[in-house]
């Protein structure tokens, strides 16, 4: 099927720090021509041979975004069998996102879940025996993007988008009911009113676009959850990394009742830091909710930083936490190393293995020697003091190493969701400008609803709702018409 041109981040943004933005479809070459600049400034990639690589820059209206290598593959000799362009960039995930956004701005649309593979198959590139797995992949990727708990988290954006949609459908319904029943409902003077409404809605969309620009809508990056028993120093770590007093830090156990989030940029790697309430048995209802939430966040975490209060001995709470860390990417910080040490590195390791073993009903005899223990479990443990800022650099280096070694990965889906959302917000914004123009051009009212409806549909892709009978329902419930 010859479809439109799609684009997406094709590789994980993690391994080796180099990422690929892939474009596929008829307009791939004309898009790259508009945003690629060679060193001497006059190479046109639409003219070069297939399967050649070109060094240069990606620019948006003369502004350089990144230094890149571009691979050109002409139809039908590509994965999708369509004209395909791959942009290798290495400026980190933010730059990659900028490049993808630029590609979309110049005419591509964000690829849907599994769409490259789907195209490859539909164009006969993939063997028929693989059809089943292609179909499963599409469905699975779709499920992930819809069910990902992080997707659900963006309640705030959805709320704002829904509010705009509600206003839009109300106006469309008004226009439509007047067109259907001109003898009952008049549109006199309506264009002035709609002009004001469009102004407001455009303002609200701008606000959302600004937020999405700052990555404030949906925290993308590596979901890093800080966990530990009460007063282990979790909030201090968050504040230390974020560089400001975000959490309330006190000496009283259980001060962080809810979950705190902070996004930090660690030399180009985005960490989405989540500070959780200390996990411990509790009867306090408010705190209980915090603890339950913390456990939920753990499930979605890409990386867990476990803070041990090394000035106390490991207790029941620590054992419970250790139980949750099995098979996860964990960094353990032995905090408060500036105080007297009651818990050592070896004791933590021992406890970890015991937890695991107890659960699996293994025998304990062979775990006697300390040497054996350290050879079984390789997880990094750092002596740390949030108060004296000891071990901070070590922690940062460690996270970077893990990232570039591909041990921890940011959730690509969120990244995609963000790009799609931004594209949707922008198209909605464009549709509203078209309405504004129709009003300025004194077009008849029925022309307004065409673009109002487009804006409504675009925004619906963010909230995951299709139009269906929305309009007809709104017309009948809000406006009295009929013979």
């Amino acid at each position: 099927m010859k479809g439109d041109t799609i684009a997406a981040i094709a590789s994980a943004m993690t391994n080796s720090g180099i990422g690929i933005v892939r474009i596929s479809g008829q307009e791939s070459l004309s898009i790259i021509d508009q945003i690629y600049q060679s060193k001497n400034g006059n190479k046109k990639l639409s003219q070069v041979n297939s399967h050649t690589i070109h060094y240069g820059y990606i620019c948006d209206q003369g502004k350089v975004i990144d230094e890149v290598m571009v691979l050109i593959m002409r139809a039908p000799n590509s994965y999708t069998t369509e004209d395909t362009v791959e942009i290798d960039c290495h400026g980190g995930s933010l730059v990659m996102k900028r490049i993808l956004e630029t590609v979309i701005k110049y005419g591509a649309r964000p690829a849907e879940a599994g769409e490259f593979t789907k195209r490859a198959f539909l164009n006969g590139r993939i063997d028929l025996s693989q059809a089943e797995s292609v179909m499963d992949l599409i469905q699975a990727k779709n499920d992930i993007s819809l069910e990902s708990s992080i997707y659900q988290l963006q309640g705030n954006l959805k709320k704002k988008v829904n509010k705009i949609r509600k206003e839009l459908i109300h106006e469309i319904a008004f226009i439509e009911s007047a067109l259907d029943d001109p003898e009952h409902i008049t549109l006199d003077g309506y264009n002035l009113k709609l002009n004001d409404i469009i102004k407001n809605l455009t303002f609200e969309l701008n606000e959302l676009l600004r937020l999405s620009e700052n990555g404030e809508l949906l925290k993308e990056g590596i979901n890093t959850v800080i966990i530990g028993k009460p007063n282990a120093g979790k909030s201090s770590l968050l504040n230390l990394l974020a560089g400001r007093e975000r959490a309330i830090v006190t000496e009283v156990e259980g001060t962080t009742r809810d979950v705190l989030q902070e996004q930090i940029n660690l030399n180009g790697i985005i960490l989405n830091l989540i500070d959780t309430a200390g996990i411990r048995e509790t009867d306090d209802i408010v705190e209980k909710i915090g603890v339950d939430k913390a456990k939920k966040y753990l499930l979605d975490a890409d990386l867990i930083i476990y803070m041990v209060d090394s000035s106390t001995t490991l207790d029941k709470n620590d054992h419970e936490i250790l139980d949750l860390l099995r098979n996860r990417k964990v960094i353990i910080l032995l905090n408060k190393c500036d105080l007297q040490q009651l818990t050592s590195e070896m004791e933590v390791k021992k406890a970890f293995i015991q937890e695991e073993d107890l659960d699996f009903n293994h025998r304990q005899e062979h775990l006697e020697s300390d040497q054996e223990i350290s050879s079984i479990k390789e997880f990094p443990i750092i002596s740390f003091s949030a108060k004296e800022q000891i071990g901070v650099e070590k922690l940062q280096t460690l996270i970077q190493e893990m990232f570039f070694a591909g041990e921890i990965e940011a959730n690509e889906e969120i990244f995609l969701i963000n790009v799609r959302q931004k594209a949707a917000l922008e198209s909605a914004w464009n549709s509203l400008s078209l309405v504004k123009r129709s009003i300025e051009d004194q077009m008849p009212e029925d022309f307004y609803s065409i673009d109002l409806m487009s804006a409504y549909e675009e925004l619906g892709t963010i909230t995951g709702e299709t139009v269906g009978e929305d309009l007809v329902n709104e017309i009948f419930s809000k406006f009295c018409m009929g013979k």
């Binding site: 789907k118 469905q139 469309i172 439509e176 067109l179 001109p182 004194q442 077009m443």
Partner: protein, 629 residues
């Protein structure tokens, strides 16, 4: 027992607006056709409002006409007032509406039926579908007579198990006290056809002589009447028109209604059927829109030779005494004499999901249906479906490709696709907002869109077809010409622009660019266009619209291109979607139930997600490959 047996190609059950179009189309295509009606006097009866057309319904009539149907011609010959609605709006929502002389409309259509070759009219109640070994054989009537045919078209309207109600009075009749059809429903159920029960209503008719028109606003027809049919000579419809009258309900009316709500069969639970939201009874309006101080009431003549007036906007099923008080509270109706009471009517219809977009039943080959029987409402909606059902019954008998119009081709396509694809819980009415490509589906270009198809089917004469082709060429040629007529900023041009309140030119431009200005049109610019050929108004109208709204039209054409991609991907029939493992459970169930004809239709079924559609595309591709190899 001996009985009458006859054999036809096509049996049409019912001679309302759907049945008439179905029977005419089938007979005109040369097939021996019989149409059954419970009463020959009720052929093409208008039991509710006395008009044809209106917003989006006018589009349907134009399309019926462009395909070779009868409704447009019939109303052109029997209208008594006509208006083009929404004239101040864009061309896509201009809509014709004409008041009919009801009796004339009906008898004129009857005359047409009676004088059509290959068409037999029979007054009889059809009670049974004859089906043997799963194959449709024909129909049986109440008397036991058997009519064998290859195809049957059901257009029973609101007659199946019909029941009319007001207050606690129940009449087991069809509309207007006509005989209902009580037995056919059972035969349908025996053949596993799923039945719905719907409801609609009509207002009272009152005696013209008892009304005080001085308290009402007169509503006149258009000065220059535009005909519905592309075949009608515009000169022939410039007649003396009669007026309608506008008045309003008031607080007193609303109080009377509110005080007696408990006596409405709707609120006491006597009515089980689902009523339409778009044509609410006056009691519904008062309850739902309680903040409105008054509602409009249109007093419309039912014909030239009757004193009966239709009380538009006040349908009701309240008891007779309340109706009297309620109507009398309206300004100008204080002394109104009621000729016929308002009533609600309940009837059996089918769940239209059981039909293909050809209007053939998925489970019974050769069985077609159209009109209110399919869960729609309105004369125009009925006629449109009747025409398609009749055409496709004929195509079935002739073993030819059926007619399926898609959503980008016609309002008829939107209507049928909505009916057979979307879940429908109330009588379906056409609305312009339902047509996503309405800028292309205008009433003014119905001939350009559909007459070729009508010609290919055999319902349009060669002569008429050639005229449309010529019109098409003239339009294209003229548009091309004005795109290349250069206009300089000379004195005459500036003067003309000034006359029309348009900003003067700074640089030269083309005539087409000037036509695009909101305050100008093609005809305004005749003076500065010396080479202009002499063209008919219908050509000029198209040139003007197509040039003026070019940007919008192009955008919609682009959307249509996208839409057609999925529409052109055919799906296998009687297919078990359980085989496609990656589909979600809900999608499998819905697809099995609906058996969509193409991927586009599948994508419009609620419960089928975009991911399911992707999966389906991959599956289809795999299947096609396997077939080829």
């Amino acid at each position: 027992m001996p009985c009458v047996t006859e054999t036809y190609d096509v049996c049409v059950v019912g001679a309302g607006h759907a049945g008439c179009e179905a029977a005419l189309a089938s007979a005109r295509l040369g097939l021996e056709t019989i149409v059954f009606t419970v009463s020959v006097e009720s052929i093409a009866l208008m039991p509710c409002n006395p008009n044809i057309g209106g917003s989006s319904k006018g589009h349907l009539v134009r399309e019926i006409d462009a395909l070779g149907g009868q409704m447009g011609i019939n109303i052109d010959q029997t209208f008594i007032q006509s208006k083009m609605l929404n004239r101040s709006k864009g061309p896509a929502v201009h809509s014709l509406r004409a008041q009919a002389d009801k009796a004339e409309y009906s008898s004129n259509m009857r005359k047409t039926l009676e004088n059509t070759d290959h068409l037999t009219i029979r007054q009889a109640e059809v009670t049974e579908l004859m089906i043997g070994d799963g194959i449709l054989k024909g129909v049986k009537t109440f008397s036991g007579a058997e009519y064998y045919s290859k195809a049957v078209v059901l257009c029973t309207g609101t007659y199946l198990k019909a029941k009319c109600l007001y207050g606690d009075v129940v009449n087991y009749t069809g509309p207007n006290g006509l005989q209902p059809a009580n037995l056919l429903s059972e035969s349908l159920k025996e053949n596993f056809i799923e039945i719905f029960r719907f409801k609609t209503g009509t207002p009272a008719r009152i005696d013209k002589r008892s009304l005080d028109f001085s308290k009402m606003e007169e509503q006149k027809g258009d000065q220059k009447v535009v005909p519905f049919s592309f075949t009608t000579n515009p000169e022939d419809v410039q007649i003396d028109q009669v007026s309608c009258w506008l008045t309003y309900t008031n607080q007193k009316t609303h109080d009377i209604i509110r005080d007696n709500l408990d006596r409405s069969p709707l609120y006491s639970g006597m009515i089980e059927g689902t009523g339409p939201r778009y044509c609410p009874s006056i009691e519904d309006k008062v309850v739902k829109f309680s903040d409105k101080e008054r509602h409009q009431v249109f007093i419309e003549p039912e014909g030239l030779y009757t004193n009966e007036m239709y009380v538009g906007g006040m349908s009701s099923s309240l008891p007779e005494d309340v109706q009297h008080k309620m109507y009398h509270s309206v300004s100008g109706l204080e002394n109104a004499k009621i000729v016929r009471n308002a009533y609600a009517i309940e009837y059996d219809c089918i769940n239209p999901r059981q039909l293909y977009p050809t209007l053939e039943f998925k489970k019974i080959r050769g069985l077609f249906s159209g009109g209110q029987f399919n869960g729609s409402s309105g004369y125009e909606e009925a006629a449109a479906q009747g025409l398609v059902a009749g055409i496709n019954a004929a195509m079935f008998v002739l073993n030819k490709e059926p007619l399926i119009l898609d959503r980008s081709e016609a309002y008829i396509g939107v209507l049928i696709d909505d009916l057979v694809t979307k879940e429908n819980h109330e009588p379906y009415r056409m609305m312009t907002s339902r047509a996503e490509y309405r800028l292309l589906l205008r009433q003014d270009n119905a001939d350009l869109r559909l007459t070729k198809k009508g010609y290919e089917l055999g319902l349009i004469s060669e002569d008429r077809y050639l005229k449309v082709i010529e019109k098409e060429q003239l339009i294209a040629k003229e548009i091309e010409r004005i795109k290349h007529v250069n206009i300089g900023a000379n004195n005459l041009v500036q003067k003309i622009l000034e006359q029309h309140g348009s900003t003067p030119l700074k640089n030269g431009t083309t005539l087409a660019e000037l036509v695009r200005r909101p305050e100008l049109n093609y005809e305004d610019l005749a003076e500065i266009d010396s080479e202009r050929p002499k063209l008919n108004y219908d050509v000029i109208e198209q040139v003007n619209i197509q040039v003026k709204y070019d940007g919008y039209i192009k955008r919609q054409l682009k959307q249509v291109k996208e839409f057609k991609k999925l529409e052109n991907k055919k799906l296998p029939q009687n297919f078990d979607y359980e085989q496609v493992k990656s589909l979600r459970i809900e999608a499998k169930q819905k697809l099995n139930l609906y058996q969509p004809i193409n991927v586009g239709q599948a994508s419009r079924i609620s419960g089928v997600s975009p991911a399911d559609i992707s999966v389906l595309l991959v599956y289809l591709e795999q299947r096609n490959h396997n077939r080829k190899s």
